[in-house]
Symmetry: C2
Subunit: 337 residues, 2 copies
């Protein structure tokens, strides 16, 4: 029996091991400060395909293929893959995975998908149901713009609170045994909706969910930010990150030392004119699968709390006057101590 800590957190007695990881990005990601950490960067936003949706599938194919290659595994050696994306009906994933023949559980967690896929893959392995499983997600600036907002060629002006959807994919291969950082706790998020209805201010909508899940995790594990080399939210951007810091400050918890947000890290926000920062499933996925896991491998980070955030809205729900329900899933990832 695994250790359930409170209602949302499981401490894994059999932690899953990160056997390999791969990050794929586009031009903007290649122009950013984390450029060197990507496995593959493509100048062409179509990734050699005819449409951006097919490009997004191509990114998932690349990320999975590269991660399998780095772990010296074939698709047949994966027991499951858990994946999803932002597109209507998650077609980035279904078409990306179509030719691999891997048992598949499709997820929808918006930009929290990297956290959700790692959480469920870890639980499947820890439960003894899989020897190896993949966790993957993607987003694409051009597919997201035309689906959620306006077609890119319209040249719509963006508000200062808007974030830039990352054109990126990340894939992690987890195993029941092997060498690599281990996932030791999994905290499942609840839907949190504080009434923010501005679809151009995702950071404000998702920050309460991040605060809710991180608070639950800290309480359940009797830890605080000081117990991690880095606490990382998914894609709150500049504004959402500040809100999370403010919420914790009210509780007397100082997040200023070692808390960061993937949406703040991915781009040089000023120089690249990214307004409030990066967003999209591919943001936290590629920051994890590129930068963070490399920093762990190099010994700079030993224990991190990775907490991707997702906004569970659709254009239809916004048109119908709804606010934005959000969610955040958190995982402790640590190197052998």
């Amino acid at each position: 029996m695994h250790n359930r800590l409170g209602r949302q957190t499981v401490a894994l007695e059999r932690p899953s091991v990160i056997l390999s990881h791969a990050a794929v990005g586009g031009r903007q990601e290649g122009d950013g400060p984390l450029s060197d950490y990507f496995d593959h960067l493509c100048e062409d936003s179509f990734f050699g395909e005819k449409t951006w949706e097919k490009a997004e599938s191509a990114m998932q194919k690349m990320a999975l293929s590269r991660a399998l290659e780095k772990a010296a595994l074939t698709p047949e050696e994966l027991d499951y893959i858990l994946a999803g994306d932002l597109l209507n009906q998650c077609i980035g994933t279904s078409f990306g995975l179509r030719d691999f023949g891997i048992p598949f559980y499709g997820l929808y967690g918006a930009c929290s998908t990297m956290g959700e896929s790692l959480a469920l893959a870890s639980l499947l392995i820890a439960g003894g149901f899989a020897r190896r499983a993949g966790a993957m997600t993607s987003s694409h600036f051009c597919t997201a713009e035309r689906q959620y907002r306006m077609p890119v060629p319209y040249g719509s002006q963006r508000t200062p609170t808007a974030q830039w959807t990352a054109t990126a994919a990340g894939c992690v291969i987890l195993g029941a045994e092997g060498d690599g950082p281990r996932i030791t706790t999994v905290t499942c998020g609840k839907i949190v909706d504080k009434g923010i209805a501005d679809a151009n201010n995702m950071g404000a909508a998702m920050a309460p969910a991040a605060y809710d899940t991180l608070s639950a995790h800290f309480a359940a594990t009797h830890t605080g930010p000081q117990d991690y080399d880095l606490v990382l939210t998914g894609d709150l951007g500049v504004l959402g990150r500040q809100i999370v810091e403010d919420f914790f400050a009210r509780d007397g918890v100082d997040m200023s030392e070692n808390y960061q947000d993937c949406g703040v890290l991915l781009y040089d926000i000023q120089k690249q004119d990214m307004h409030a920062g990066a967003s999209g499933c591919g943001c936290s996925a590629s920051v994890l699968c590129g930068y963070l896991l490399r920093r762990m491998a190099e010994g700079h980070l030993k224990k991190i709390l990775f907490a991707p955030t997702g906004a569970l809205l659709s254009p239809t729900s916004s048109f119908q006057g709804e606010s934005i329900p959000s969610i955040c899933h958190a995982l402790t990832i640590q190197t052998s101590d």
Copy 2:
């Protein structure tokens, strides 16, 4: 360690128990032959809400509330809920679950979602990560029509192979212990795409996935259709069901005795003019949560193989000339023997 049978099937040493179940439906479902098995039927397609999307969320709220009530549980007593739907970004689910405060993993499995949610919820319980978990999904004819095809008021003519999206929701509450039918095996599907590109013939697109998963399940468990009181696919309809029978006939397996499809059962196809039958996440969900589980409780069925099917397309993928990737997840559900 649980018993992995082949690559796709897990035999659960700690089967999860179905503590309760609830089915909600609309007018057409109330006019059909399974009418008496629903917990709640609503004549108003808006379910008292202002839009059909909000109506779909209302159906999920009703199904979950009713299932909790029947199990004498509060939302706080559920460790997880796993759910999804057909709407863009699964808003039927996120808005339906928003006020319950239950740790949530969002799924996208198209019409296979009842199978996927039961599979993952069973594995979480069997792995010792949850004492109780919910599995839920929904679909709504009017939300699906305007999202996938045409707004209902256009009065588009439907092709003979078209199916009618069920306006229905189903919810199952699973527990680690208690009385009720048990889920004893879980078979995870792979994406199968045989090149069918006609979005008005979902049965043909999904039948190969059903055949693939059922075959894998039969091989892994050394069983055949004769070992079940009923083998049920999700929503293949009249045509898809026939294709599955034909595929198995080629292997020398006779499915004619005890194989049925939820899409054939839900409506009186001739009288209600439902063309090829029912479809939608709510089809297999409500047939399970209404008819099938009641038939099990009454002792008419002791062991069934429940295999919901999903078509992982979107209108965009069809517009871009893509064929239809499909998936099917299967579960053995049996009463104590």
